[in-house]
Point group: C2
Chain length 111, copies 2
């Protein structure tokens, strides 16, 4: 990160807050990491990520709004919906990688 | 990140979830980024980060519990309390850097 001045600090605080606004919260990055293995239906996602349908629906909508996940309605009977990561979501790779690394080292520190 | 197999996926999902358990939520990383400019009192932190005292107190306690922030009671009248990042919190630098970078590029994408 840049040298700390009041200005660069405010700027980096803002950028971090922007990121947290989009992918913060308990579930968004978990969902992105679950979807990395390929597109998934709603129930499958709910099961794999361990999220209740009500919350999952809201989280997916927000991810879609921010261009990170795309939603595809399939013409089946009954209609099914599949969720998939967008190309843009790949820009999150460095964030996910850093978090994965940190999670691993923190776990080692604890046990 | 490693190649996707069911096993490496589960492991990386777990590591990301661990990280989110410790520093996820709306405020933790914002607090860490605010404290990067030096130790701060409770009211100062509340003001700078824009967090209500009730929530700030809870967030600081959790950060302290995880060894990321230290709390120092100063023998003044009235007693004041200062919060400071620990050395261990520096392990979060890569996460913060990645989030800062992403926040900046996402903002450019939007405007």
């Amino acid at each position: 990160m840049e040298k700390h001045t009041k200005e660069t600090c405010a700027k980096s605080k803002l950028a971090i807050r922007d990121t947290l606004d989009v992918v913060g919260g308990k579930w968004k990055l978990v969902l992105v990491s679950v979807l990395r293995s390929g597109k998934k239906g709603f129930n499958e996602l709910s099961r794999e990520a361990g999220i209740s349908p009500r919350i999952l629906s809201k989280e997916l909508q927000e991810l879609e709004m921010n261009g990170l996940v795309s939603r595809q309605v399939c013409n089946t009977k009954p209609v099914t919906v599949q969720y998939e990561l967008t190309d843009y979501s790949q820009t999150l790779n460095d964030v996910l990688k850093a978090m994965e690394k940190w999670g691993n080292q923190h776990r080692q520190k604890l046990y």
